[in-house]
């Protein structure tokens, strides 16, 4: 993907840019809001990664508002040291698609960027999701593996659905909390791991090929290949 990173802190910018490039993306970098807005408006990007507070009179929120008012729909991920909930709400209201609080693990940023960049297309909503021999039917809300029915609870179904919609991509624990449970909170312990391992047990029991993989220091990924 071709990305624009607008970040004034040189160290954070270098770290993010290097990481994204290593993951195979092209990254343009602007150090202030005005340059960022100019670049974002005049060139084509697949994704914008914006710091919330920027020098140059145009902060992240203003930048997105301006872009959106011009009809620009490029996905936007906010990076911010402002963690307060209303700050996050402000960022999303302005037209941001996701919000990540500093300090963050690069794996978290990468997972979110990739999830945003490869959003399922809205034109043809799928009724079935498939990974290898695992099939999830969104209409009948059933899960089958190798044509064998697997009983899952409603929340497990949503968890699996989210993983399968991002098959081949890393999904972090906070992403699962936000998307599957719809809360912003600190779970204190590894409860998400417990939920995932339960689901994994149900799916992989009796099959030799595991589908849900743990990605060290990052999160989980569902994919056919080990």
């Amino acid at each position: 993907m071709r990305m624009l990173l607008v970040e004034d802190d040189a160290e954070v910018a270098r770290f993010v840019k290097k990481g994204l490039q290593e993951a195979g993306h092209t990254v343009e970098h602007a150090t202030n809001g005005r340059d960022g807005l100019f670049l974002a408006a005049s060139e084509q990007f697949d994704m914008l990664v914006l710091d919330r507070m920027l020098p140059g009179g145009v902060d992240g929120v203003r930048l997105v508002e301006t872009l959106r008012s011009q009809g620009n729909r490029t996905p936007v991920l906010f990076l911010s040291a402002l963690s307060a909930v209303d700050e996050r709400v402000k960022g999303l209201k302005a037209g941001g698609d996701d919000y990540l609080t500093k300090p963050f693990a690069f794996a978290e940023l990468l997972a979110r960027v990739e999830a945003l960049g490869r959003r399922p297309s809205v034109d043809a909503p799928a009724t079935k999701l498939r990974v290898a021999d695992l099939e999830l039917d969104l209409l009948s809300r059933t899960v089958t593996r190798n044509a064998k029915r697997i009983d899952v609870q409603p929340r497990e179904f949503r968890l699996l659905e989210h993983l399968m919609r991002h098959a081949g991509q890393v999904v972090t624990r906070t992403m699962l909390l936000e998307k599957v449970w719809d809360y912003h909170f600190d779970p204190q312990t590894n409860v998400i791991d417990v939920h995932v391992s339960r689901l994994r047990q149900k799916l992989d029991k009796g099959f030799d090929k595991p589908l849900i993989h743990t990605v060290r220091n990052a999160g989980y990924m569902i994919r056919a290949e080990p």
Binding site: S83, A84, V85, D86, V89, T101, P103, A105, R155, W181, Y183, H184, F185, D186, P187, Q188, T189, N190, V191, V194, H195, R198, N217
Partner: protein, 464 residues
């Protein structure tokens, strides 16, 4: 330049009390002047008008007499009147117009009358050998000049007495007004003194100082109460800020120092790359833990400052609790504990959904941490008269009564809890969330008398 805070009484003219008093003194004096004016008009004025009326009547009667009996008759009438005037107040003079020969009367000669005076005038005359103030009326008859009047010496005396009285009374009014002003100013200052003393003490750094109330329940007491309420609120906020800075100083520095030491150590001592890598990973984990403590502190501070009340929305607490139960049930089961819930189908509440969930999650996390395998963790909620109660009970060691009052303090950890991982911030946040929702947090034995008693945390949230 900072405004100077002088504690001495303000200078006289700047004193609000004095200015109030002066205003009232002025009103008092105006009333007194009006009173005196009315008095004057009613006494001295009435006497003057009476005299004038008598003189006019006399003059008309004499003119009548002249018309009937001519100059001789007039002279006789005058002599008759003088003869019966026992008070010796009447003044008459009849002269010829030409030559000025005196025909009758008790004045020796025509008084010197200023030309500009009209028919009525007041002047000094020589009456019975004494100089006297007289009120006179001049009448021109064909060939004759008649002067009718009254000796006003006694009236004059009365008028003087009245003037003197008014003068002294005015002095007394001014004196009383000034004394009143002085007293009022002192009374005001005395009532304001506690406020000055308190604000000065607070400016001096003693934030615990409060304005003393007089108990009279008047405007000053209300002002003092308002001030005290404000100070209470500022105190709470200051406490929060201080709490955060204490926490930063103490509980963030320590883990930072630890992480730093580990990294520095690894830099010089690590035998090989895998060891160095492991230490760096540990360092990152340490930093993440520090970030989480920081995040928790900020959440607590936000909740305590009431800054998040803007995010309040109507919600069904039952759903939030069910979600919390769903998330944590697996954690309890993974540790071999039983997890029991008892939730009513619907609990309407206005609040902050994320913070309420965080509070319940913190309680559940504690309960799960302190309950041994085989024990039970219970989450229940119920409607009570005051609102909604959320109850989280465990089979853990419980909390000693002495420790309960400290449980909501940041970083407090009971002695029995030291071996269990945790930051000591969980209950602080619950308490802050309770306060934010105008509720309260109560800690009690889950089963009184049992050993160990277990802990039950009751979060009471008022609901409309």
């Amino acid at each position: 330049m900072a405004p100077s805070l002088s504690l001495g009484p303000p200078r006289l003219l700047k004193s609000a009390g004095f200015r109030f008093a002066l205003l009232f003194a002025a009103m008092f004096a105006s009333a007194a002047i009006a009173l005196v004016a009315v008095l004057w008009w009613a006494t001295a004025g009435a006497l003057d008008r009476q005299t004038d009326a008598a003189v006019r009547a006399d003059a008309i009667a004499l003119a009548e007499r002249w018309r009937e009996a001519g100059a001789t008759g007039l002279a006789e009438a005058i002599e008759e009147r003088l003869a019966v005037d026992v008070e010796n107040e009447a003044i008459y003079l009849l002269t010829e117009a030409e030559g000025g020969r005196r025909l009758a009367g008790n004045l020796d000669r025509w008084p010197a009358v200023p030309a500009e005076e009209g028919a009525w005038f007041r002047t000094r005359v020589l009456h019975d050998g004494f100089a006297a103030e007289a009120r006179l009326h001049r009448l021109e008859l064909p060939g004759l000049r008649l002067l009718v009047g009254r000796d006003e010496s006694e009236r004059e005396q009365l008028r003087r007495l009245l003037t003197e009285g008014v003068f002294w009374a005015s002095g007394a009014v001014v004196l009383f007004a000034l004394m009143g002003a002085w007293l009022l100013r002192h009374a005001l200052q005395a009532r304001m003194r506690p406020v000055f003393a308190t604000t000065a003490a607070i400016a001096g750094g003693n934030l615990g100082s409060r304005v003393a109330l007089s108990g009279r329940g008047d405007e000053f007491d209300r002002l003092a109460q308002t001030l005290n309420t404000m100070l209470e609120r500022i105190g709470t906020l200051m406490e929060g800020v201080r709490g955060v800075s204490d926490a930063i100083a103490h509980d963030l520095r320590t883990p930072i120092a630890r992480a730093r030491a580990k990294l520095e150590d690894a830099l010089s001592e690590a035998p090989d790359e895998p060891a160095l890598r492991a230490t760096v990973e540990q360092g990152i984990a340490d930093l993440d833990a520090i970030s989480r403590i920081f995040q928790a502190l900020l959440r607590i501070a936000e909740a305590e400052a009431g800054a998040r009340r803007a995010a309040f929305a109507p919600l069904d607490l039952s759903l939030v609790l069910a979600d919390a139960a769903e998330i944590y049930e697996v954690a309890a089961e993974a540790r071999g504990q039983h997890f029991a819930t008892d939730l009513p189908p619907q609990l309407e509440l206005v609040g902050d959904r994320d913070l309420l969930l965080q509070a319940v999650v913190n309680l559940l996390d504690n309960a799960i941490k302190f309950t041994p395998p085989g024990g039970t963790v219970q989450l229940s909620a119920r409607r009570v008269a005051k609102g909604i109660e959320i109850l989280v009970a465990d089979d853990g060691p419980g909390l000693a009564p002495d420790d309960r009052s400290h449980a909501g303090e940041r970083f407090f950890r009971a002695d029995k809890a030291r071996a269990t991982p945790g930051s000591g911030l969980g209950l602080s946040l619950v308490q802050a969330v309770a306060h934010l929702h105008a509720g309260e947090l109560r800690l009690e034995d889950a089963v009184a008398g049992r050993t160990p008693p277990g802990l039950r945390v009751v979060l009471l949230l008022p609901s409309p």
